[in-house]
Symmetry: C2
DNA sequence: AGCAAGTATAACCACTCGGTAATATACGAC
DNA sequence: GTCGTATATTACCGAGTGGTTATACTTGCT
């Protein structure tokens, strides 16, 4: 097994950390259908202007989004669609997890029924 | 586009946060080839016992690993191999990112050369 | 130049996080 | 029971995070 260099691990965890926030996930999600300026993002995801701007800064620093200026507006767009693949993978995993929980609950219930007089 | 419920976003970000740390990635990586007890993990990933134990706690709370007791030892194992798919996706994305940077540097250099007398 | 709109930044606060050192717990051997 | 080993937990600290409010910056318009 490869030793998985410290640098690589650091970069992976940075990127994951960049995504690991509900507000930022909302922003990424709303950018899924094309670039949008801050105002549009703001009305779609809610929250204060300063807060959204800060989260956009985090996303930009992390390399998850890019932006360009057009007049007085600044348009943000997804820099790497891999984000969505990651989200999908996590969602699938969560679904499996939940269905496992359900099965265990079912099994537990069945066992209780056997034990019951 | 689906509104992507607040709960789901919270769970996704929790899971990402659970992975978003170099030490935890190292632990997950070392568990890739089967379950290991804390001592084994400890010697493979380094760091203090308390620290590794705490990170293992985080991984367990997040639902990324499971554990079982065998005598005095406690064996941990990956609960959901989706972790590796996520890492692979991030790595691929990083590689693309880096190669883009390289191209831009190359392009920039070429331009400079043109400008030079 | 001055003003307004869009966006970013600074200062601050409560809170979480990653780390360490020390202590507690659980188990097996004796 | 005591002792030693394996692991978890506690208490603490410095650093970072997510949020708010207020302020600054940048651009277009007049």
């Amino acid at each position: 097994m490869r030793p998985a260099s410290e640098q690589l691990l650091q970069r992976i965890s940075d990127r994951l950390k960049g995504m690991a926030d509900p507000m930022r996930l909302r922003i990424l999600h709303t950018l899924q259908d094309g670039e949008k300026c801050v105002n549009e993002i703001l009305t779609e995801v809610g929250g204060s202007q300063a807060n959204v701007s800060k989260h956009l800064g985090v996303l930009k620093r992390t390399g998850l989004v890019e932006c360009r200026r057009e007049g007085v507006s600044i348009y943000y767009r997804i820099e790497d669609p891999a984000v969505f693949a990651i989200c999908r993978t996590v969602c699938d995993s969560l679904e499996r997890h939940v269905s496992n929980e359900m099965q265990e609950i079912e099994a537990g219930r069945a066992e209780m029924m056997v034990g019951a007089s």
